[in-house]
Symmetry: C3
Subunit: 345 residues, 3 copies
């Protein structure tokens, strides 16, 4: 068989019975055949092939719980046991193939596999997910369909309470679903579900991480990681810096930042950065920026466009403060990350 | 008669009985004469002229509810019916004229008319509103007067709960009062009540919208819309970009952005932008910026100051990356907004 | 005796009994000898010397309450009385000396002395605090140890509630512990506990203030105040502007901003600013920036590096928009803060 993923979830449905979101406490990548068979034993063999998001009732949850116990999947059994009688909507999502999602629970599973660290950015098929994600009001009372909001706000007030809305978005914040080990996040509203943060990552209050994007190791993120962008280990994004999602100028090449690199505060990139690169604070480099190339002795050796330097290693980008021209030169300074900064902040 | 506005609201008062805020579930612009008369039938004819914010009790709420039913205003009747017996402070705000506000409930009505989409920015008299808006701690238990906060925090802890404060400000977040249809907001703390967001607007996490400001149509807002600024349809504000509230250099001219325009990431404007304009990522244009004017063939035709270009159409602003000078040239590139970006993100 | 500080607090402990945080409703700097003796009368004379964070039980809380009454410290007595029987973890923190902290309650006391306005930034010994601050998930149900989070999220869902996480950080937001008088904060997630905000400070939504940093008087903060940075009275940080924590280029000199100064939107400093200085919008000045020095008539008088101008008064920094070079000249424009802006916004 060899399935792509399995997860048991509890979620929220609108008053029309449509899924607003699903929380999977312990999603499984590449579930064992025995796990798939155990589920099929309860739901029927029809779930063994294809991709399914099956709503289950309390009885089915209990049965799957027992089936999980029988094959020593105590972790899964625990969640099923807890949820079985609570009366919240439950779903079993079992994906044979990693293909374009076709349901909201399926998208939520894929986003959680990313944030759980089991899948790397660009590591699975996310085609068409926007159309499957409803726009939801994320409140202190949970997800609410936007059209129900005014009534719910009045209801709360009339019982002396307060409904506060944290976002109106297709994506929830990651931390309401998963906080990866070894990660700090100064303002949780700035990291979307589907972000992938490696242990050792600090996302400061000014940092931002979109879905299908993130970090590959230790990093200090005080700037914005756009959808699709991955930052290599030991790299820093300075306060307020910007990364374009794809190569500026209409390209489809994905922007990335290599290892041991630094983008200065309020700087930005519309090209990829390689390893051991620095972009000076306040400088924005795009694919079309004309850049004077200097050697290690600051002698001019030519002129090029930003796009030709995309992804290259050991470069220092700066704007000459006497002539105003943008220059690139070999980066002789290894970026030594301040250990105190990284274990702390 | 021809009144300016009517609304029924429930709100929060301090321990001294002063209004901290008012929520109007369904504010009415230009109420019919029959509606005004129905209210006057309960509250007395004295409310027909002038601007009033009248505290009402349960009996009056019930009577106004019945009066609304009698003239087929079922929407209003519904809210009055729900609120009548809940014991929360209730107010009827009836404004004959759009003049400078004189009470907190009046300011809250005008801000909600903006966010409700019934009034455009600069479309009403907001003179002196700061003095009428109390500074409030906005918490998960609702608005709290700042001087009561420490005791309330202790009270919460001693019953094993947690009082968390989202802001200490004169303005609440818009979404706790109104979420306009067709809008997404990544971080709700970044949009103040009194913002005006047209359907098709996405305010990403880095976006910000102040009061009496907003968008006129489809737009992707990843930068900051200052008080008074309006962004035309099909325009984008790139991540972290800045708009000054009024023309830089002390002018009182209000900054605006036209249609089909783009301000790049980390860029900024201290002048107005017309239609089909682009400001390059990272470039800040102010009224005093000396700008070299180029023709479509990049030939220099003169030099001017930013202020002379304020509000002009079809301009591309950039900093020459070889000479460091700021240039403007005709913008031959129509800004084609990426449909996928706009329906999504 | 002459002690450094005393405070009674209630806090949160992990399931392993370790302090996650402590709230001190009324911390005392330089407590009187009679207060210290009153505490010692209950806890034993061993607390008179050295630094202590002593967990107390209900009986001890009542006894200390009575001892406070006996010496007319009604304020302290009130909090002890309220807390005595609530069953929440209580602590007496009594510090003889201002030395490097050795416990979590001690760090929380020092951070609260800062935010309470009793200690200025750099006014006490904060050595090693990162190691004493646990990384905590700050939620609507209070602080939660990260390893307990998934279970707590499931628990909340199964009872039909929602656990939302506001941050995963060593520092909580300041306002959940203290809101200084005369301060407004547009987005409370942007100000860490340990920030020091003087009356008359407005931190707009884009502003940020780290610990051991802040303002010394009236100020409009729409940019980022890094750890250790203090902004003088009547100074403004424009939207999205950046301050480096220490002198750029590896120095240990702390960055500061003087009085009556302005950093423009999206600008930044890696040097200190003196009084009456302006940095033009969008310009980033670092220690290594080569800067052309102009006299009051815009005549060139030399070239220098940013570091030589660090902390100097009456300077205007700009990038010449025709030549791209960075220039500094005497600042003839006193920065007159707009009163309406400061009392409002």
């Amino acid at each position: 068989m060899s399935h792509f993923s399995f997860a048991f979830g509890v979620g929220t449905q609108s008053s029309q019975g449509e899924w607003l979101e699903v929380f999977y406490p312990q999603p499984v990548l590449n579930p064992s055949d025995s796990l798939v068979k155990a589920v099929a034993g309860v739901l029927g063999n029809g779930v063994i092939t294809g991709n399914h998001a099956a709503v289950i009732n309390a009885q089915q949850a209990s049965q799957i719980c027992e089936a999980m116990r029988a094959i020593d999947h105590e972790g899964q059994a625990k969640w099923l046991r807890q949820a079985a009688d609570a009366g919240q909507p439950m779903v079993i999502t079992l994906l044979e193939h990693d293909t374009a999602p076709t349901s909201t629970p399926e998208v939520y599973l894929k986003l959680q596999l990313l944030s759980d660290g089991q899948i790397q950015p660009h590591g699975q098929d996310l085609t068409g997910i926007f159309g499957l994600l409803p726009n939801v009001a994320w409140t202190n009372e949970g997800p609410i369909a936007v059209e129900d909001l005014t009534q719910r706000q009045m209801d709360a007030r009339l019982r002396g309470a307060w409904l506060h809305v944290n976002a109106v978005d297709k994506f929830p914040r990651m931390v309401d679903y998963k906080v990866p080990a070894g990660v700090r996040i100064g303002d949780a509203s700035r990291v979307r579900l589907g972000a992938h943060l490696a242990a050792g990552t600090t996302v400061m209050h000014e940092g931002f991480v979109n879905f299908n994007a993130g970090t590959a190791g230790n990093s200090m993120i005080e700037g914005r990681i756009s959808a699709g962008v991955v930052v290599g280990k030991n790299s820093d994004l300075g306060g307020g810096c910007s990364t374009m999602g794809t190569l500026s100028g209409g390209g489809k090449e994905i922007i990335a930042v290599g290892e041991d690199s630094l983008i200065g505060a309020n700087a930005g990139i519309g090209i990829a950065l390689g390893n051991r690169c620095i972009v000076e604070a306040g400088l924005y480099i795009t694919a079309g920026t004309k850049i004077t190339v200097l050697d290690a002795n600051n002698q001019e050796v030519g002129t090029t466009k930003g796009v030709t330097l995309s992804g290259k290693d050991d470069l220092l980008f700066r704007r000459n403060s006497q002539t105003g021209r943008v220059e690139v030169k070999p980066n002789g300074t290894a970026v030594i990350l301040n250990d105190a900064l990284h274990s702390h902040n």
